[in-house]
Symmetry: C2
Subunit: 118 residues, 2 copies
């Protein structure tokens, strides 16, 4: 029980470090809702090499934020939200704001196109 507490304490710090990186947040988001193979992830990220993705996956895995499942030559990753603890709220808020901002931009654009009636 004490051990559990101690472990989680360490994880929270590791998790903080892990998600302090935008790249790793991006990757974490990809495996948030569904399990994905390293290859899928790497070809989605695209502006960075496969090894770079692999290395970031490793950091995420070591911090306990994602789990790995091997099947054949593939490795599937998915987020382990329990490990995030209170950081989950932080991520959600960031991501929600991203969406809000996209929506705002879309609306602005729509307004710009629509003929003004004044």
């Amino acid at each position: 029980m004490q051990v559990g507490t101690r472990n989680r304490r360490i994880l929270l710090e590791a998790a903080m470090e892990a998600i302090a990186s935008p790249r790793r947040r991006q990757i974490l988001r990809l495996v948030w809702g569904a399990e994905r193979s390293a290859g899928e992830i790497a070809s989605t990220v695209r502006d960075v090499s496969w090894p770079a993705v692999s290395q970031n996956l490793r950091v995420l895995k070591d911090s306990g934020l994602i789990t790995e499942r091997r099947q054949g030559t593939h490795r599937y990753y998915k987020a382990d939200r329990r490990a995030l603890g209170p950081l989950e709220v932080v991520l959600r808020q960031m991501w929600t704001r991203d969406l809000d901002r996209l929506r705002e931009l879309a609306e602005e654009e729509a307004r710009a196109k629509r003929p003004r009636h004044d």
Copy 2:
């Protein structure tokens, strides 16, 4: 309102980065409950030079996590909890766990000293 949202979005990311550093968490904790001068902080931290503290204070200030008040030759800093948003919970949890751990250690020690009765 939109601008406010956007600004806060940026701050949340900056705040993450800022408190990803153990040193800055240590400093933030010092100015959590009460305003303190740079000097007080620097002489409390002790295992690091004054300039190092000053630089970290600057990062914290730029990220919006602390505020600065100048008075005479002194500069007083204190945490601005609003800027932390959902990260406040994260910090509290870390710090609570620190305390828990200290308490555990103290209890263990007490147990070790107390004569066994079996």
